[in-house]
């Protein structure tokens, strides 16, 4: 139960689908999103707002919208709503009986595992399913783990907790419920509410039951009694949820609570939660409550939902492990491996329980009862649920007991089974383990059918995304409140800047920072911010205001030099201000003085962006300029490879043609009539050709520099020119370049001298700028920076693999240093036909904040479009030059590590030769002192840069975060997407110096620790067989798995060394949205497109199982777009989309879809256009026909499946994670 609550506590998002959601108690969230799944959470929620329950249900029905509405309506109601939702969910889905089947199935597969774990597992699983907690699984031998774990958890929680929790919870629960977040509170309120909710709460009840279960003692006791177990399979399921609560019994009550730590937490939570919420409320008014709810629910909901799906999936599993299958199946969501076994037995029961009946009838009743105790949980167990719950725990503890439980708890078991089911892949292992747990097998009575986790029962990214989109997409995100978790990156939302910077600029892994470094260490959750200082805002949002503080420059703190910001405290009637970062008191300069009003705010508070907004810009004074001189406008230099390959492929002609028109679209930086940027041209092969395109010349002049060993720029005047003034000369030049080199036979190229040349040119012109280098081959010509072909795939998986990512020579590092000093940013367009050592060539680009674009085997027909789009975009986008970024933090933490494309000469200043609107820098923070909850933690990111108009500016982003003394708060305010962004970058940097395997293991280990810490400290006690995930992190395993399977960390044979290096560098600069879709691609069923609406079809999960032969799908990951065509697609559709009459006639080489005048084609193309517009790079379109050779390529991106290169499937990985976690816990 505890776990469940915990999950709930967090974010709404987590909520898996409705099914899962049901499980998840995620009131709010649940309520909002996964109606059904939420149900479980809802239980919790319900508790709080029993009344709401009624409303909730409707909400559930409506699902997404309903949730939102419910939230919107009122905090309390929300809960209620959530609860209601859940109920429906459960009722609806579970009822279907699917569960049974599912369970059954699961049981089957998981047998071994299930057996052991099952008992508890179920419960736990329930917990998991519920929300959030997580899903978990008993990875280990079911029997043992379950037993032990179960006991362990249960004892603590269950024993005393239940009661205690119950009491305390109640109090807290109410609060939570209302607030949503306060899990603990929920728990408490739940009691009262619960009763009402019951129906809804059922899930909770289960949850509550779980709590009881979790409490080992109690559970165990219960456990023994098979009846309970059996009966409450449903309960179990929920129980699991509940169980989570148990450990976090209080949480359970809270619903959300679970997510947070135990009841104790509740207190705090409530406080915090409420605090938080209130703010929301303030912003949103009544809704706030809903908001809060939203968060917590998710977690819960997830768990549950999972469970349900599991069931559905179970059918299959059932087949395998018929006996237990059903029961277990459900668990999947939650996890419980052990449970699985039981499930089988329970399987049957569950269905019943699970099904609405139980819920409605008993559940409700039960819930109420349960609620009273902790939340609803206890009661439920008593009735139907209670039985089961106890059972499970018991089982966990004792071999025998479980069996009974299983039967009784089928539902739960199922869930657990589910977890086992997941194990499928890993079955063997588990199997072994499970086998070991003959107990279960025996106990369960129901054979310990090894079950596989039902993929449907495990946390689904799609669901989470959908939920968040539905819940948070409709209202603007107002940044006024400290420590708010913003909507997911996949959600479209507006931002209102009220003092904190927009999440478009900064996203954090957690918005609640542990107060002490011990806590931080304990949790292992990295504290990092992903900063995109020059992010492009949607047109609806106002770009940062420009503030001019006059000649003396921006007002800053005397000591730490922080810039004036909304957090600065004015004192002494406004004559001084105290720095929010270092507490130093600084005089307010006379010209800046302003009186304070009665609240201590300056009277001009709303007139000054730097006092009221989170992001704004200062006009820099000459003191902020290099050499104390205002900068010249930047320059763009186009450097084109004219060696044989480039000419022959038509590339040179293409570039020249494009440049003619492109030069009219240089960034203008604000409202200037024409761009201030000057341009220059260079071509090169073994030697460099500079061009004098001075406007006064009748014809361009070419200057050949063949002294590549000692590069220099041969001319000053006339090299960098204004486009308009030299238009005719430039046009003439661009006409002639392809002609001049048409007959070239030169195949060798140089590279380093090209950069040197550009650098020198900028130096000579005393300006910053950007080089656009179009390069085709490994630079083997005799020159500095000459490279040799060192590609060697045999190094993969050896200790020397890292060398493939390291530059061949130090030369480029030094060059990069020089470039940075001058503000020379290098963008690289590569057109290789073979290895060209991206790892080395990219060094300068990487360190100067540039971009690399790579077009392997470039062919005019197919790649032209993509290249030109990239080029246009790259040339046109806003860029800041010669930038220095510094992140200041309030005392207690400081920025210690930086990831991204930049250079650092000291430990604090991030130097960027260029920084464009797509580049992101990830900053990691570490404690160097204690933080206080009162003051929170502040970040100020200051970026000093030269705009494309040549203006020197400072862009300031401020962000305030909460601090917490409870780990649960940390886990409730995390953002998995950001976390993954950080982890990926961390790992990708790690491969430079460590064997890839080490890096992978470290990643897994860290995540396991994060989750284990949660399990240990925040989740309600539950069976060890349960995998309990924090609501906010329930996608961590799936995403992490994607990272681990990525080409860099686990290359398949078809992945080239260059590609790996390329991707490695690419990812390092990605923002959260990009990493999100990059690691977990978006898969859209095209045939489900509603031609008449603007909406995208609902995405589906990245698994081959989800593809239907009769459909077409679109998959995008930010670099590629695949269109997958099933063999059985209707000919009409093929005709409409591809303009050919049959499947076999579809061409693989198509790089764009034909323009056909029919609604379907139009729609698909508009979808593509929309997707392209969202990404910073033009994606390559690849048509994949089912069963075609290219399908392998496509399958590579079905990241939930086992990959060709040995990457684990989601299910397998989840099991593995669980095992890891259990190891850590034991």
């Amino acid at each position: 139960m505890t776990s469940m609550p915990g999950s709930e506590m967090r974010k709404p998002r987590g909520l898996p689908r409705s099914h899962d959601a049901c499980a998840t108690s995620g009131f709010c969230r649940v309520g909002c999103r996964g109606c059904q799944g939420l149900a479980a959470n809802a239980d919790v929620a319900e508790r709080p707002g029993g009344t709401s329950g009624g409303s909730g249900r409707p909400g559930n029905r409506k699902r997404g919208p309903a949730r939102e509405r419910s939230r919107g309506s009122s905090g309390v109601s929300d809960r209620a709503g959530a609860a209601g939702v859940r109920l429906p969910g459960y009722g609806g889905q579970q009822m279907p009986g699917v569960p049974h089947s599912q369970y059954g199935v699961y049981n089957g597969p998981v047998p071994g595992h299930q057996q052991p774990a099952p008992p508890q597992g179920y419960f736990p699983s329930l917990g998991l399913p519920s929300k959030g907690s997580p899903v978990s699984l008993n990875s280990d031998t079911s029997s043992l783990a379950p037993n032990f774990i179960g006991p362990l958890r249960t004892p603590p929680t269950s024993g005393a907790p239940p009661p205690t929790s119950g009491a305390p919870l109640p109090v807290g629960q109410p609060a939570y419920n209302q607030f949503g977040q306060g899990d603990v509170q929920n728990g408490i309120p739940a009691s009262a509410v619960q009763m009402q909710r019951p129906s809804v709460s059922q899930p909770f009840i289960p949850g509550s039951t779980p709590t009881s279960i979790s409490q080992l003692s109690s559970f165990q006791q219960y456990g023994p009694s098979p009846t309970s177990a059996q009966q409450l399979t449903n309960h179990m399921a929920r129980m699991t949820i509940g169980s989570v609560p148990t450990s976090a019994a209080p949480p359970a009550g809270l619903g959300y609570g679970p997510s947070t730590s135990v009841s104790p937490a509740s207190g705090s939570f409530t406080a915090t939660g409420s605090g938080l919420y209130t703010p929301y409320s303030s912003s949103q008014g009544p809704p706030p409550a809903s908001m809060t709810h939203g968060l917590p629910p998710t977690s819960l909901s997830q768990g549950v939902p999972l469970a349900q799906p599991a069931f559905s999936g179970l059918p299959l599993s059932m087949q395998r492990l018929p006996s237990q299958g059903p029961g277990y199946a459900p668990p999947p969501s939650s996890t419980g491996i052990g449970p699985s076994n039981y499930p089988s037995t329970t399987g049957a029961p569950r269905p019943s329980t699970m099904q609405s009946p139980p819920l409605s009838g008993q559940a409700l009743a039960g819930l109420p009862a349960s609620q009273p105790n902790h939340l609803s949980s206890p009661p439920p167990p008593q009735q139907a649920m209670s039985g089961p719950h106890p059972g499970p725990p018991m089982t966990g503890l004792q071999g025998p007991p479980p069996p009974p439980t299983h039967p009784s708890q089928p539902g739960y078991q199922i869930q657990q089974n589910g977890s086992f089911g997941q194990v499928r892949g890993s079955q063997p292992n588990y199997g072994g383990a499970y086998p070991g747990t003959p107990n279960y097998g025996s106990q369960p009575g129901p054979p310990p059918p090894p079950k596989r986790l039902d993929p449907d029962s495990i946390p689904s990214p799609i669901q989470v995304i959908e939920d968040d989109r539905n819940n948070r997409g409709s209202e603007p995100f107002v940044t006024g409140v400290r420590g708010q978790v913003p909507p997911l990156v996949t959600t479209n939302f507006l931002v209102k800047d009220q003092g904190n910077t927009s999440p478009r600029y900064i996203r954090c892994t957690s918005y609640n920072i542990p107060c002490t470094s011990d806590m931080a260490k304990q949790s292992q959750v990295p504290l990092a911010a992903v900063i995109k200082p020059l992010a492009t805002l949607p047109t609806e949002e106002t770009p940062p205001y420009l503030v001019d503080h006059g000649e003396s420059g921006p007002i800053r703190c005397n000591r730490c030099k922080a810039y004036m910001c909304p957090f600065m405290q004015f004192i002494e009637g406004g004559r001084r201000f105290q720095c929010c970062f270092c507490s130093c008191v600084t005089e307010v300069p006379p010209h800046y003085f302003q009186h304070l009003d009665h609240t201590g705010k300056r009277v001009d508070f709303y007139d000054r962006p730097e006092l009221s907004l989170g992001s704004y810009e200062f006009l820099a004074t000459v003191d902020y300029c290099k050499n104390n001189k205002f900068p010249n406008p930047p320059a763009f230099i186009f450097m084109i490879d004219v060696s044989y390959n480039a000419v022959k492929s038509g590339l040179v002609r293409l570039i020249c043609e494009e440049l003619k028109s492109l030069l009219d679209y240089l960034p203008r930086g604000g409202n200037l009539e024409e761009s201030a940027i000057r341009v220059g041209f260079v071509t090169y092969n073994k030697v460099l050709h500079f061009y004098n395109v001075k406007s006064s010349l009748a014809q361009p002049q070419m200057m050949v520099v063949s002294d590549v060993a000692d590069m220099f720029v041969p001319l000053l005047d006339g090299f960098l020119v204004n486009v308009n003034e030299s238009r005719t000369v430039i046009a003439s030049l661009l006409d002639q370049i392809p002609e001049m080199f048409a007959d070239t036979r030169e195949t060798e190229t140089v590279f380093a001298p090209v950069i040197q040349a550009g650098l020198d040119a900028l130096k000579a012109a005393e300006c910053a700028g950007k080089l656009f280098i179009f390069h085709t081959s490994l630079p083997i010509a005799e020159a500095p920076g000459k490279l040799k072909n060192r590609d060697d795939k045999k190094l993969i998986n050896t200790d020397k693999e890292k060398t493939l990512f390291q530059p061949q020579t130090n030369f480029y590092n030094n060059l990069a240093k020089d470039c940075v000093a001058q503000g020379c940013c290098v963008d690289l367009f590569l057109f290789p036909n073979q290895y060209l050592d991206v790892a080395t060539l990219g060094v300068v680009t990487y360190q100067t904040g540039g971009s690399i674009y790579k077009y392997t085997y470039f062919q005019l027909e197919t790649d032209q479009e993509r290249f030109l789009n990239d080029l246009r975009r790259d040339v046109q986008k806003e860029v800041g030059f010669d930038a220095v970024m510094r992140v200041r933090t309030s005392t207690g933490i400081r920025a210690t590590d930086f990831f991204g494309a930049f250079y650092m000469s000291n430990t604090t200043d991030v130097e960027l030769a260029g920084l464009d609107c797509d580049k992101t820098i990830t900053v990691e923070f570490k404690h160097d002192d204690k933080l206080s909850e009162d003051s929170g933690a502040l970040l100020q990111c200051a970026l000093l840069y030269t705009s494309s108009a040549g203006q020197r500016r400072l862009r300031i982003h401020n962000l305030s975060l909460n601090c917490c003394t409870q780990l649960a708060d940390l886990y409730r305010n995390c953002e998995t997407d950001t976390l993954i962004n950080y982890l990926a970058k961390y790992a990708y940097r790690g491969v430079l110096n460590n064997p890839v395997k080490t890096v992978r293991d470290a990643l897994i280990n860290q995540c396991a620790q994060i989750l284990a810490c949660y399990r240990k400290n925040c989740a309600s006690p539950s069976s060890a067989g349960q995998l309990i995930l924090p609501e906010c992190m329930k996608l961590l395993p799936v995403y992490l798995n994607c990272v681990l399977k990525s080409d860099v960390l686990q290359p398949g044979p078809e992945v080239s060394t260059d590609d790996r290096a390329y991707i490695r560098q690419l990812v390092t600069s990605m923002d959260v949205a990009e990493t999100n879709v990059f690691f977990y691609p978006r898969l859209l069923p095209l045939t489900k497109v509603d031609v008449d609406s603007d909406a995208l079809p609902a995405a589906i999960r990245n698994s081959e199982e989800r593809l239907s032969k009769g459909d077409m799908y679109l998959l995008e990951n930010g670099l590629n777009i695949f269109v997958w065509v099933g063999v059985n697609v209707q000919q009409g559709l093929i005709q409409n989309l591809f303009g050919v009459s049959s499947f076999s006639q579809i061409s693989n080489t198509m790089s764009t879809l034909p323009i056909l005048e029919n609604p379907f084609s139009k729609k698909v193309r508009s979808i593509m256009d929309m997707l392209q517009a969202q990404r910073s790079r033009y994606m390559k379109l690849i048509i994949v026909k089912q069963e075609d050779k290219f399908e392998m390529l496509f399958k590579h991106f079905l990241v939930e499946d086992k990959s060709m290169s040995g990457g684990a499937s989601y299910v397998d990985f989840l099991c593995h994670m669980h095992k890891e976690i259990r190891q850590l816990l034991s």
Partner: protein
């Protein structure tokens, strides 16, 4: 006082006489032709010398040679000659066949009028090694009455035109400094464009411009002008340069069945060197578009000028493409090299360019390195048979001191002016392309001079615009005078005036008998590429009588050519001055002079008043006096560049011009008679005279005090004073005449009494009256010079004293 012909001096004919002025009281009729059977028509040695010079372009210091080594050394002035290899001989039609060579491998002398010929046996005996040689088959028809030209005495100098190898057109590679003032650059551009029209249409031209960078322009491009650019700070090897210019053919694997096309090479090189008729327009435009060096020059800095690298690239370019064909690298520079190899001064204006003072103090930090750089270049250029001209126009020094070897070793021109926008430069440059009576350029390329001597003589060395070819031979002396140790020199570029001093050593032992009736003979064989691109060989064979110095000293004495001797000694002195301290050279010169006076003077011991010199020696001390004062040996008041410039020209001009340089000529114009040469003496500066002084480098017209006043009063504009107008005009016309033939154009100075420019005159005249000899003050006889220099009178007094001193 008796003066020689008046106006004809301008033609350079017979200046000797005028100069002798006072002292040459009588013609050397008293001289005795001792056992000369050469020419009865020669009345005097003077005429003999003059005739020889006109025919062979040779002037010997001694025209009768002492017959033993010992005696020869006692003569003080070495046996030497001034040779003008390409002396214009309009009357000498070249013969169109190959010369006949002595068959002895170590000799290879050319058949000449001194050879004994056995017409019957069709044999000839080499007069140097006495080898008997068969005539080649083509000579089958010869007889006493049917002699080939080379056997006729009047063809002691003869030109052969030979057909060897492919004829390559002349090559002109312009190396242009762009760090000039706008006005200068414009003038230079016009001059260059003009020069294109003077070139033969087939001539190949190339263009390199430099400033901070060096650009080699490709001349055959349409639509876009291409150039290869080099950093001005980095010295590159020839190979690197050729690689970078793409002149080295990539090692193409020999493809079977496809023989290499022999025309590839011209194709490659033609990118930078194109026949003028093809790219006339292009190049004219290109020159027209030349911009000043665009790199900013901040206050207080000199522009960065990469002369060293530019030259290096020019040399490398030609080296790679046209080795051993006639080519001129013409460097136009407007200031000192300020960066890279060959830099002469830093770019900080506050650090002035080195002066003699700095050099003496060893304070010229770039000099040695720069000199070495240019020397290396010069040697490479010479080895390839190309030449380098330097046209340096700037108010300040331009580093000629360091760069001098480029011209000195390759026979190139060195021109120094104040600005490219002056007639001095424009006309000088135009004169480079002047044509001779056949319409051919007065220039020849890649010459090698081969000197052969009869056994009693050996070759000590040569001084002139040449380098040694290091050809050892039996006739090479171990005692080097000038560039020695060889009997062959390479003269990469020469014109009809180019004159070398060649020093010999008599090796006949003291007790060895003079070959009966024997004469010593010397043969000069000059192979060169004529400006018409023909290969030619000029052979000059001369002979002089031997005399026993012990009993026939008077013969030797009478056959002394004091003019030639003065120039030859001066060349030795200047040559030494290049490497030694100034005072040492002067001491050496003094010592030689004293010894000469001791040897040939007539005096009673310790009685200076009894000292007399014969006519053939009488002018020699005076030459030495002026030589000591000349800028060739005195660096005071001259910048290192100027010294180099003067010495450069001194080392290559013929005897006449050299003498003018040593002792400028002064003419006086007055109402009292026709213009007359006057003593180069302060006493010649009179108020009612107009003076015209020619120092070779300068033409000074000086109006006496009264004349100047008249002119200011405007009398010349009054019809009644037309004679005054004519008087004023006369020197101008004469000056014009000089200006028109002289290369390089002299600096033309028009000044008057008290004018600042009058210093040019005052510094040259013998300071017979100074502020020191008070008696001269106020006298009308001249104008006192404010100087501490000794006057000729004092000099002579000392000389006599020392000469007669028994202590010496």
């Amino acid at each position: 006082m008796k003066y020689g012909r008046s106006a004809s001096f301008l033609t350079g004919e017979n200046q000797g006489c005028q100069r002798y002025g006072p002292q040459t009281g009588s013609s050397p009729s008293s001289c005795i032709f001792w056992s000369l059977n050469l020419s009865d028509s020669m009345a005097t040695y003077l005429e003999f010398i003059q005739q020889n010079e006109e025919r062979d372009g040779v002037r010997f210091s001694w025209n009768v040679w002492p017959s033993s080594r010992l005696e020869a050394t006692r003569m003080v002035v070495p046996l030497a000659c001034l040779l003008t290899p390409l002396k214009e001989r309009p009357d000498l039609p070249p013969v169109q066949y190959e010369p006949v060579l002595c068959s002895r491998p170590t000799c290879k002398a050319v058949l000449n009028p001194l050879c004994q010929v056995d017409y019957r046996a069709k044999l000839w005996a080499c007069n140097f090694c006495f080898q008997r040689n068969q005539f080649p088959p083509a000579y089958a028809g010869i007889s006493e009455v049917n002699q080939p030209a080379e056997l006729m005495p009047q063809f002691s100098t003869i030109d052969y035109i030979v057909q060897r190898g492919p004829q390559t057109p002349l090559i002109f590679l312009y190396v242009v400094d762009t760090c000039l003032e706008e006005e200068d650059l414009q003038a230079l551009k016009e001059s260059l464009q003009m020069s294109l029209s003077l070139l033969h249409p087939d001539a190949l031209v190339g263009l390199i411009t430099f400033g901070r960078m060096v650009q080699v322009h490709e001349l055959s491009c349409e639509g876009i002008s291409k150039s290869y650019v080099f950093r001005g700070t980095k010295d590159l090897t020839a190979k690197q340069i050729q690689d970078m210019l793409g002149l080295t053919r990539p090692a193409v694997p020999v493809q079977q069945g496809r023989p290499l096309q022999p025309q590839e090479q011209p194709v490659i090189s033609s990118r930078f060197l194109q026949p003028i008729h093809k790219i006339d327009m292009n190049l004219t435009d290109l020159l027209g578009e030349l911009q000043r060096d665009p790199w900013p020059v901040t206050q207080g800095k000199r522009p960065l000028r990469s002369t060293g690298v530019a030259l290096s690239i020019a040399v490398g370019l030609l080296e790679g493409t046209f080795p051993n064909t006639g080519a001129r690298i013409m460097l136009f520079t407007g200031g000192p090299p300020t960066q890279g190899p060959g830099m002469v001064v830093g770019d900080e204006l506050k650090t002035p360019i080195r002066s003699w003072h700095d050099i003496e103090k060893d304070n010229a930090r770039f000099m040695k390195k720069a000199t070495k750089h240019y020397e290396t270049l010069a040697n490479r250029t010479a080895a390839n048979g190309h030449c380098i001209d330097i046209y340096a126009c700037a108010l300040d020094q331009t580093g000629l001191l360091e760069m001098k070897c480029c011209t000195n070793l390759t026979g190139g021109h060195m021109v120094m002016g104040d600005s490219f926008n002056t007639s001095l430069f424009k006309q000088t440059f135009q004169r480079v392309f002047s044509k001779d009576f056949n319409g051919e350029f007065r220039m020849a390329f890649g010459a090698s001079l081969d000197v052969k001597t009869s056994r009693e003589l050996k070759i000590g060395g040569a001084i002139g615009p040449c380098i040694s070819l290091n050809a050892k031979g039996p006739c090479v002396s171990e005692n080097e005078l000038g560039i020695g140790g060889t009997c062959q020199w390479k003269i990469c570029s020469l014109d009809p005036n180019t004159t070398l001093a060649i020093y010999f050593e008599v090796v006949n032992q003291h007790n060895a008998p003079i070959p009966q009736g024997g004469r010593g003979a010397v043969q000069f064989v000059t192979q060169y590429q004529h400006s018409s691109t023909q290969k030619r060989i000029r052979v000059t064979t001369i002979a002089r009588n031997w005399a026993d110095a012990q009993n026939q000293l008077q013969h030797i004495e009478a056959a002394f050519d004091q003019e030639a001797a003065a120039v030859l000694m001066a060349r030795l002195g200047v040559y030494r001055a290049e490497t030694e301290e100034g005072p040492d050279v002067l001491r050496w010169l003094d010592r030689q002079l004293i010894r000469l006076c001791q040897k040939f003077g007539q005096y009673n011991k310790d009685d200076p008043n009894s000292f007399r010199l014969s006519d053939s020696f009488s002018l020699y001390p005076q030459f030495m006096f002026h030589l000591r004062r000349s800028p060739f040996l005195q660096v005071f008041n001259n910048s290192p560049d100027e010294s180099s410039y003067y010495r450069h020209h001194f080392a290559r001009q013929d005897l006449t011009q050299s003498l003018i340089m040593i002792q400028p000529i002064l003419y006086s114009y007055s109402f009292y008679g026709p213009p007359e040469p006057v003593l180069l003496d302060s006493s010649s500066i009179l108020a009612d005279r107009i003076l015209l002084m020619d120092t070779f480098f300068q033409i000074v017209i000086y109006l006496g005090e009264t004349i100047a006043q008249w002119q200011k009063a405007g009398y010349q504009d009054m019809p009644e004073y037309e004679n005054f107008k004519h008087l004023l005009q006369a020197p101008l016309d004469d000056a014009q005449e000089i200006l028109q033939t002289r290369f390089p154009m002299p600096r033309y100075i028009n000044t008057e009494h008290g004018g600042s420019q009058a210093r040019f005159l005052l510094s040259k005249v013998n300071p017979s009256q100074t502020h020191n000899n008070l008696y001269a003050w106020g006298q009308e006889s001249g104008s006192p010079i404010l100087t501490d220099d000794v006057s000729l009178q004092v000099f002579m007094d000392h000389l006599k004293k020392l000469a007669v001193s028994s202590a010496a």
